[in-house]
Amino acid sequence: MTNKHLVNIILLFSLIFTSSCSNDEQCRKDRYIRTTAGIYTVSYNPTTKIRTTTLLSPDSISVQGFGVDSITDYKKKSTILFPLNKITNESDFRVRFNEIVDTVKILHTNYNAYLSLECGCLVTHSIDTVISTNHFIDSVRISVHDVNTSTSAKENIKIYN
């Protein structure tokens, strides 16, 4: 192998590597986190003694965090979202079902999950307790405590009318 060949090979590899080492620095990781609540009604048949739980879709639902200006409205939906506070461990909501207003208090633990330089940090939650007033709501139950990217399709809280 002559020195001329060696130089050519070095130049070729340098070109290949400088062209292939570009980094687009875009965040491509899943960062979608949401806390979902389903609304249910329970009916009891005294003759058969069977209790049946079915999804309920009120005409209108609005959700507003305490101290937050924006209101999220739902029409004929049986599922609503509660965006949990990333900084503190308590999130309080005013929920209006048609014309009846209830307050829902969610106590949760926050976890910081570092993703990358491009994506920054993600906050996941674990729901500890859910308390509500009982005007429209009869009771609440936590079905999935963890709120993270893998549970975004799951229902975390069940609200019974």
Binding site: I9, S14, K86, T88, G120, C121
Partner: protein, 233 residues
């Protein structure tokens, strides 16, 4: 980019597989003729300095730097144990304005094999086509700064500090390249490396963006090129 990587992988694979087979066939032929020639076990050592690493800031938008050298021993003109030592670091600010910085020593230990067999009646030469393996390690500290959690719904921000985190990372490398004697006892050459991380990252943990000696930690695998100049003692 994936296509390019595949192309390089296939080319490297062909180099590593086909050349040794051809060399072996030629070697079998030569062995019959030259089995009486005695080769010394120890044939000196070569000290190398890497030139590509000096220019690496140009390839990574000046966010990283790396300087390295090596000492390699010639055993039987066939086996070349090598120890590489370097110093590398990074000072990076991402589009999200998150900063990363580290600097540390790293080391690699391994062996190269000379895959070039002398042709019948050819002139004696010290030029080589080499392939080999390395085991690399770096113990280093790093900081990730300006990580801020912003809550757009409730309002408020919180800074998350990741300062002075200590870690040790290990990796192995598959290396192939050439060495040419350009003047008496002075060698130049290049090598291509495929680096594979042995120490896995923690999911959700503050993992390092850059590992000294391994490069940018964008996955478990990394590519690099070294261009060296050396003196044989």
């Amino acid at each position: 980019m994936l296509k390019k990587i595949s192309k390089y992988t296939i080319s490297l694979f062909l180099c590593l597989v086909i050349l040794p087979i051809q060399a072996q066939k030629r070697g079998q032929h030569i062995e019959q003729k030259t089995d009486t020639v005695k080769v010394n076990l120890y044939n000196g050592a070569t000290v190398y300095a890497d030139i590509v690493s000096l220019a690496s800031p140009l390839f990574a938008k000046a966010a990283t730097y790396s300087y390295e050298g090596a000492i390699q021993v010639d055993l039987l003109h066939k086996y070349y144990p090598i120890f590489e030592l370097g110093y590398a670091g990074a000072n990076k600010i991402s589009n999200e304005n998150i900063g990363f910085n580290t600097n540390a020593l790293f080391g690699r230990l391994g062996v190269d094999f000379n895959l070039q067999k002398k042709k019948k009646d050819s002139k004696p030469t010290n030029n080589m086509f080499q392939a080999g393996l390395r085991l690399g390690m770096s113990n280093f500290r790093y900081s990730i700064t300006n990580v801020v959690i912003t809550d757009n719904y409730w309002g408020g921000t919180e800074a998350v500090p990741y300062n002075n985190i200590a870690t040790t990372k290990m990796w192995f490398e598959i290396v192939a390249g050439v060495r040419v004697e350009i003047a008496k006892n002075i060698f130049m050459g290049w090598s291509v490396r495929n680096k594979n991380l042995l120490s896995k990252d923690n999911i959700g943990g503050p993992n390092p963006w850059y590992i000294p000696g391994f490069g940018i930690n964008s996955g478990n695998s990394n590519w690099a090129i070294n261009y060296v100049i050396g003196y044989h003692f």
